[in-house]
Amino acid sequence: MSAGVLAFPSGDGLGRLGQRVAIRVLVGILVLLASATITFFALKLTPGDPVRAVLGGPTANPSPETIAATIREFGLDRPLIVQYGLYLERLVSGNLGVSFSQRQPVASVLAQQIGPTLQLTASAMLVAWALALVSVIGTTRRNRFLSAFGSGLEAVAASLPQFWLALVLLAVFAFGLKWFPPQSRDGFAGLVLPTLALAIPLAGFLAQVTRESLELALDQPFILSARTRGLSDLAVRLRHALRHAVLPGISLSAWAVGSLIGNAVLVEVIFSRQGLGRILYQAVTRQDIPLTIGVTLVVTIVYIVASTLADLLFVLVDPRIKAATR
């Protein structure tokens, strides 16, 4: 009998885990190449002209020499396939190129902006899980009123759009009560509202999924046997039922990381936060190919890491998986 939710695998299990991770890394590299390629051609197929975007759009007045020099500088005078080949060659050697629109190396843009986004994503994920677990453990299969209240609250939370929630939180807690700064400053106070704006809808979603499987788990015979051994209700829920119930939520978390980064765009703008979301939006609208691909690659890596972690966590939480993977 293990003492907690996590069951650590044996040495033999670690070897198999290593294999899984290695396969993941290989697949990850292929996914990265594919996403760079798709982004490259998708931006190339979009109508418009990055040179015009960088030189200020239709109401700018660059000389023909300036336009020609810019086209040459960005390598846009070469055939598409050559541009792609050159780009890939640089990418493989670890050079992400220079952003057209931000006028600095893509690597510097990413280095400056990834911290705040990861901070926001991680804190939103933690808070979402905490809120979800409190709601689920506290209200599932209690009395009828409490259960209905919990699942009702979760349904409402899950359906809230993040940008709307962000504006409401701002209006109430920053403009009205003045508990938190309206612009996201450094430090804890500035992180609270953006985190809640992202975490509350996600919490509702995670809780709905977890509640359903917790209900199923609580019906299992082993729960009854645990209860007959004299374990308290909370202990039964935490040690036995929850371990089954969190599995779907864990798989969803990998997807949630991607969706959090996507939703961070609006939240970052609303709270004037630094971050990749705002940068990606600008990069796409200005057809800034190097920067768009750079951000896409980072988000893809974060997603791959998150789903690998979710897989590992899955095995740790549910030892049955370990047996099934040979």
Binding site: G48, D49, V51, G57, T59, P62, R103, Q274
Partner: protein, 549 residues
């Protein structure tokens, strides 16, 4: 210059308050508390909506760049509220009779914040830098396409040669877009200079934390303020924090709570409230140039017919539309030049007046006589449809404004289709002339803007990717001749007469649905004083500003 790529909340017409200020001479000035003595020291926090992508105003050249450049660079010449050119880094100048050679006598006591001396070679380095295609200069470079070379006969004399007479040369030199920077700084990689530019202005750029703020510090040696300034010597403020707060309501709330001292682009819905708030003051001033407008594409049907163009302009009830969208705080533009542009006239505003009867009469005359059950007109079985791409970047207020125009034009029988598109799609349609009307404006401090947005020279001037600054496709020999002649003389009366003629031609050809002039709209918290706008482009300057905290 210009810029379509801005939030609609930036660009506004005027208010009763602003009108008063304008009547008083263009620039609204801090009043009551300016009586008290400025205090030296302290930090002013300034919050704006858009972040520049480069701090060197020569590169590209979008409005956010000139706002920051105004704090750390000086210009060669200054421009006052009446549009007159005065000295700044140049003490005096002479212009050759053929208008192609400008000889500047420069100040000999100016140093850049890196210790470098300002002299004729520095001026040459700046003009050469702007002209160099590798700089990617769209605005400054566009304004001095006539520039050929600079001679430096002695250290503080610069002889600038132009390829043709260009009477607007001094005017554009007064813009912050052509701000003077240290030659060794300009010699660095373009992207490095974007990040850490060096000027001779009252402040120096210390740090740029992207998507967050720029930190500026006082230049303690500054002693060459322009005659438009209220004091001489170094700036009062120790430090300026220049923050980016894109969300309008957050920007305004930060001001109202005193978190920041000054905001740019006060949201129109908050202006009335700001006026009532004793802690706040508004500074609202129009910008010079071609006002916000819908340029009518005259290269294809139906706007190739002047009667249909006039009918469309006459059918648009702009005053009511502005009142409803901007809470009565925006005034209609007086003509193809915004009121604060040198040589602007309101003499032809009547041609843009709302007149639905005339609109209907003109459409009948033009043969658009059949009407369907919805009242939409058609001719030979073809509906009177007007396609207008609206970029998603134009913001909700601009879109609402077009919806109002759509409604009143619909009463005259126009089927106005507002087509929302993304930035790149919008650029694409613009370059292919695939529109009947398209949103435009151009901020610049000279009436020569008429040549840029309406002369045949700019229909395909830049020759690549469909670039055309002349969005209506207007091609008129008399107009071209008039605006070209206006550049050949420095005589004010002659220029006034020629630009009056040019504005008449534009108005009577019905080329643009004029809405509101672009404007700078600052909100100032009670802790900040002496904030003013440099007249050349109505751009914030914090040189005379001080704080009481």
């Amino acid at each position: 210059m210009k810029r379509i790529l801005r939030r609609a909340s930036l660009a506004r017409g005027s208010t009763a308050l602003a009108t008063l200020f304008l009547l008083a001479g263009g620039i609204s000035h801090a009043s009551a508390e300016d009586v008290t003595t400025p205090v030296k020291g302290g930090t002013l926090i300034y919050a704006t909506d858009r972040e520049p992508t480069c701090l060197d105003p020569h590169v590209d050249g979008d409005m956010p760049q000139v706002f920051i450049a105004q704090q750390y660079t000086d210009s060669l010449v200054s421009q006052d509220k009446q549009g007159r050119i005065g000295p700044w880094l140049a003490k005096s100048w002479t212009i050759s009779p053929d208008g192609k050679t400008y000889t500047f006598q420069l100040r000999d006591d100016v140093t850049f914040t890196n210790g470098e001396k300002f002299n004729a070679a520095a001026l040459k380095a700046n003009l050469d830098h702007i002209k160099n295609p590798a700089t990617q200069s769209s605005t400054a470079g566009g304004y001095i396409q006539q520039y050929v070379s600079t001679d430096t006969p002695d250290e503080f004399t610069a002889v600038v040669h132009l390829s043709k007479p260009y009477a607007a040369f001094l005017e554009v030199l007064a813009q912050g877009f052509l701000g003077i920077q240290a030659p060794t700084a300009l010699a660095r990689d373009r992207n490095v200079n974007c990040e850490s530019p060096i000027g001779s202005g009252p402040f120096k750029v210390v740090k740029w934390d992207r998507q967050s703020e720029i930190v500026l510090e006082r230049n303690p040696d500054y002693n060459w303020a322009p005659p438009t300034a209220d004091h001489q010597g170094p700036a009062y403020l120790d430090q300026v924090i220049w923050k980016f707060i894109p969300e309008p309501s957050v920007r305004y709330a930060s001001l109202a709570s005193g978190d920041v001292d000054v905001i740019e682009s006060v949201p129109p819905e908050s202006e009335a409230e700001a006026e009532q708030n004793p802690d706040l003051k508004l500074i609202v001033t129009d910008r010079p140039g071609n006002p916000t407008n819908g340029s009518l594409n005259i290269t294809r049907a139906p706007f190739d017919d002047i009667r249909v163009r006039e009918a469309f302009i006459r059918s648009a009830d702009i005053t009511s539309a502005l009142d409803s969208v901007f809470f009565g705080r925006y005034r209609r533009a007086p003509g193809p030049l915004s009121g604060v542009t040198p040589f602007a006239t309101a003499d032809f505003q009547g041609l843009y007046d709302y007149d639905p009867d005339r609109a209907n009469k003109l459409l009948d005359e033009a043969g658009w006589t059949e009407r369907d059950s919805a009242g939409i007109r058609s001719k030979d079985g073809k509906k009177l449809t007007i396609h207008i791409p609206i970029g998603d970047f134009q913001g909700p207020a601009d879109r609402s404004l077009w919806e109002q125009i759509q409604a009143t034009a619909g009463q005259a029988g126009f089927d106005v289709q507002l087509e929302t598109v993304g930035f790149s799609d919008w650029l694409d349609r613009d370059s292919r002339w695939d529109y009947d009307a398209i949103g435009a404006y151009w901020n610049t401090n000279t009436a020569d803007v008429l040549r840029i947005v309406l002369s045949s020279e700019f229909i395909g001037a830049a020759g690549s990717g469909g670039y055309h600054q002349n969005a209506s496709g207007f091609k008129d020999a008399e107009f071209d001749k008039t605006v070209a002649k206006a550049l050949e003389t420095q005589d004010e009366a002659t220029r006034r007469e020629l630009y009056h003629q040019a504005q008449k031609i534009v108005a009577s050809n019905f080329l643009q649905v004029l809405t509101y002039p672009q404007s700078t709209r600052l909100g100032v918290y009670k802790t900040a004083h002496g904030v003013r706008l440099e007249p050349s482009l109505s751009v914030t300057t914090l040189y005379d500003a001080w704080v009481s905290k």
